[in-house]
Amino acid sequence: MSLEAEYRLRFLQQTTRRHFATGCATGLAGMWMASQQAFGDTSRFVPTHDPNNPLSPVPSPKVAKAKRIIYLHMVGAPSQLELFDYKEDLQKLDGKDCPDSFLEGRRFAFINGVPKMLGPQYPFEQHGESGAWVSDRMPHFAKQVDKVCFIKSMRTDQFNHGPAQLMVHTGQARMGYPSIGSWVTWGLGTENEDLPGYIVLLSGGRLPRVGKALWSAGFLPSVYQGVQCRSQGDPVLNISDPEGVSRDSRRKMLDAISKLNQRSYERFGDPETLTRIAQYEMAFRMQAAVPEAMDIKRESAETLEDYGAEPGKQSFANNCLLARRLAEAGVRFIQLYDWGWDSHGADRNEAINAGFQNKCKQVDRPIAALLKDLEKRGMLEDTLVVWGGEFGRTPMRENRGGGEMAFIGRDHNPGAFTIWMAGGGVKAGMTYGESDPVGYTAAVDPVDLRDFHATLLHLMGLDHNRLNYPFQGLDQKLVGVKPARVVNEILA
């Protein structure tokens, strides 16, 4: 085939991909639509990846303050009332019957009838120049508050873990929708071709309830789903060559596959074959790049000490350090899940006055180290760090089954919770929004999850309305169908 013909074919293939990626009217209309992008049709941003690499970087349509996101999700929903949202008034109500007005028309997961109010269980102090309130459970993090922007008026409409986690990460309460990381890597690709663009790290313990649905690509092409990297075993599934196969043999083998596939391309002329050749090469490079990026033994003893990381273990501390390494290597979206934050008080591990303390210890130092480390390396400017859970916890003490429980716990509260962000284009040392005097509802400047999503996308240089994809008869967006707003007030 002539070079010109090949080029034309490539172009067509790309257009065709785009056509299927957007599902627009017809093949011909698809091309027409694509050409219209150039004429300023603003209805949809269609990322134009290299046809041989659907993860190739794409310039963001808007100015991007953040190039990558590190998202720390505390699965189970940490109590904002014991960490960042200090409520003096709640202390005064401690032990009193919950007022009827708090209960009317509300649905709870576990609270029955009339529960008692529960004051903050740990002392709070103000920290840093910004004077942010942090409880004594997070002493290391407390020293970093001037890097952080708190949002204390987050709210959601889901009060069970599974649906609520899905709400946070996919904007929908049911399984089957793309996660934030998928939207972002679809929209922007990734900077390091030898690593997955969207990496998920788990601290160990149980998988989050809805499992991989939290990092699913939903209806987006599956190449945009999160890739779980592990600190034990193969860091990426099947990345190790089988025992007894030398790297050299593998190279020879791949050469043979490429050669034969090239012949296949000459025979059938299918551009998809060229893509496959490229993907096999990328897989080969990944086999070297991923283990290197995942190897924290390459870090200094001092750094390991800062994070509290121990090579070979599965831990949140290791994952924070890995997150920095991966961010450095150009991974677009790094998602950490920690577990065990569901402090109902139903047993010791999940009680505000017991297991919660351990959880705080496990995350406090690594989070502080991550923020310091990113700053030291000049990466905090364009790396957005997000911390949060899937909802908040009630200012009432849980009374499961209608009686007093042995441990102290709080039930699920979708009405108010706290998240924080740092770096990547958000104001440092700021608090946005307030919950009511007992921390039950978002009272001042409420931020819905869709607004939070719109803000994340904005920071990454994407427009939440233009980043959409047709599925089930709707132009689906991360922010859903209700109007969402970028929280401009927190932008640096």
């Binding site: 027409w32 599956s222 593998r250 596959i257 059938f268 496959r276 047709p470 008869g473 709707l474």
Partner: protein, 979 residues
Amino acid sequence: MSFSDPASMSHLMVIRKAILAIALATITCWSPWVLAGEPGDSTVDSRVIRFNEDIRPLFTKHCTACHGGVKQAADISFARPETVLPPDGWAIEPGDSAASTLIERVTTNDESIRMPPPEHGRALTADEILTLTLWIDQGAKWSRHWSFEPPVSPPVPEVETADWCRSTIDPFVLEKLEANGVVPARDEAPLRWFRRASIDVTGLPPTDDQRKRFQTLLAEKGDDAYALVVDELLQSPAFGERWASVWLDQIRYADSKGLGLDGKRNVWKYRDWVINAFNNDLPYDEFTRKQIAGDQLPGRTIEDQLATAAHRLTQTNEEGGTDDEEFRTAAVLDRVNTTWQTWMGITFGCVQCHSHPYDPIDHDEYYQFASFFNNTRDCDLNEDWPTVSVPLDPSDFDRASELDREITTLRQTLWEKDFDLLSDDKLWKPVTSLEASSSNETKLVVNEEDGRAEFKTVGTVQRGVTIGLQASVPDGLDQVTAIKLTIAPQDTETAIQDAEWGFVISEIKASLRQAGSDEPLPLDIARVLVDEPTPFYDPQLSLNTKSNRGFAGYTKIHYPRTAALVLRQPLEVSQDSTIELSLDHRVFILASFSLVSRRGWVHLSDDPSLIENEQDESLIASRRKLRELTGKRSSIRSTSVPVLDERPDHLKRPTNLFVRGLFLTKGEPVSSGTPDCLPPLKQFDSDPSTASRRELAEWLVDGNHPLTARVMVNRIWARIFGVGIVATEEDFGSSGEPPSHPELLDSLSVQFQGEFGWSMKRLIREILISRTYRQSSVTRNDLPFEDATNRLLARGPRFRLPAEIVRDQALAISGLLTSTLYGPPVYPPIPDGIWKPFQGSDKWVTPAPGEPGRYRRSIYTYVKRSIPFPMAAAFDAPSREFCTPRRLSSNTPLQALMMLNDQTLLECAEALGKQMSRVDGSVAKQIAHGFETAVCRPPSPQELDDLRDLYQTLIEQNETQPMTILASVLLNLDEVLTK
């Protein structure tokens, strides 16, 4: 500017002339593409504008966002002609574009009134405006969207090279090729065609023997060999295993429940039913009737009921503290959406919240449709109830079905007698004086209401409460034969729509306290009568101390529920004696919701008929008979599968519109119905409020529905050609793509529902024996634009195989594949650390290497929604949360790693390598054998050289298993992974 102003009229004319000029220029400049759509246009004015092809897409693209189903700005909807055309509409004057507001508004230079407004979208192009103008001048004829018109068998087109055609499909394809001046591709090499056909029919490549047989047949019978082998392939049981997977994507089959714990769901018998249905070529109309309404078919069999598991594959939520009603509702709406998507190719989900943006389907029509599905007994229960007990051995189906029918009839007859007694007001006297006490923190009050005394809980209800009731004997009662207990929702009005948490009475004790006596006399209760024929919990268990179950509204209560305790002997009572009841509640849901009676009252009866009913010889005999039958039935080894089953009429759930789609904000009540834009529902009887799922199924498959056959034909076509005749398989509505070959689609659809008798095998055969299908899949360099999507069908299909086939093919090539059909899910090898289910009891136990269970076909692999099988996920298989109309295909490095290093693939490579080494002769011969087994054709000399070179290099590198590595290369070839 207004229309009465002559100056502006002439201004408009000037603009129109200018537009014509621009339009002509545009057409010239875009000619290659425009010509492809409308060949042969030379003069603009002669263009005949067709509404569906030319106009509707413009409305959908530019107008319906604001003037459509969601928003009807200025009461104009371009989805509905009556709002646009006279007499009621005013935007368009047919025959007079100059007088049409529409044209004025799209052509004006005044940005403040231009449509679409600049902030909503770009201005229409000159060509678009010209199209609209011509259409109006030609009379502004509106047509219904093409897919809402029934398919009509089109005449077979005249083609120049008629001898090219082999099946009824070919003339339609050839006509379009000839019209575009394109010659069809040459025929595919026979062996490559055979591989393609084998994979399409069975999901497996042909074996060595099959290949040889085909070549012999070809030599003996010539062209007839093609149809013969297709017929043979269609007889293979592997056919059902391949095509069931296509259906399971639509119907969102999984072996787990979804949200919450994503626990195991025992529903594999349904998967086997689908495989079996395909293998037996169950006609698509029957296939549909059984899945939508198998439980309502007369003389229903086990398999009829089993088929309705199709709609029990919805996600349920077992997480603690979830509202069962919320997730039941979500499941019902998913059934609605899946039915539309799967059977009618219409995206219906959007109508949950508002009228359809592009298609003429109203918001309330969604809920009318939902009403068909809203009265089933399932309600997000952890037990997945109701279930049907399906015999493990299908040869027991007939006997079990017969027993089930007898049991159902007898149980119903007996229950009707009970229910008559229970609901006969003449038999019962209300207790007007009642005292209530609680065993724990739960607080109770007693009120007088409607001439009876009733208890109610207030405030916190503590779990495990025993409620004590002291009922004074009403005036005029000398004896008591039965005690009737009614448990009611706290708010009877609202609970019908928004059910309250229900109750379970784990134990009921009744006693009589005579005036002046300290010792209550325990009463001997013969039986508990209840108000439903097949309650989830056996109400007699309320009399059993050991069981926590019993009379219940489980887990929700819509209506007051009644049970009667029939005494063994009439009990003499005096006016000052009291009947004491103790209601023990021991059931709660996952540590959260206590299932406690929150309101109730008591009636007493002195009527002897209640006790006589217990002593009646024939009834006693019937009850014994029932026990015998159920005993026989339970001796048949069976497994419980969730199915659809209706609630009895007196406990029917009403359906309401949800305001903006939210289940907590209910609007007007609705009754079952289908949208007006489609043919009317034919009811078996005249009462419109009783339209059933059976009637709905009939509506889909009675041959009048314009979508049913088209959507299935298109789906089968798409699986074979890689893209449907309608490329947007999921959307046959106005925002979907029009068909590339509308006459072909209609011709096949008419055949499918007529001549073929809805036979899917017959339809697949028709496609596979066609000359169109036989074309070579080599890219058409002469057709750079058309070839990219192959919409002209100028070559054969070529695309990467679906996930299941990628794996099954590797197992087949290497000879490892186990061909056992059916059975519970299997657990092939997965990498360590993948399997971390929320429930520890949910084990992934892989059979050891060499054991057949390790190498079953992929359709039998356990499908867990939250932990997808890695190979399936890497190769784009959906995780089956929702209906997936078509899979998107990706091409990623993770696929390469999977093919190179996954345990299953390593075992395949090893087995194939051994197979190759066993071949007598040279290394070259061994390699050629492997190549032919994997690729289904002999290698070319260069290919053989490449592989021999690799072998040589590996030997030089002292590689211990060179043939295994060669086998791995073969399994990774593009030609192997691709159809």
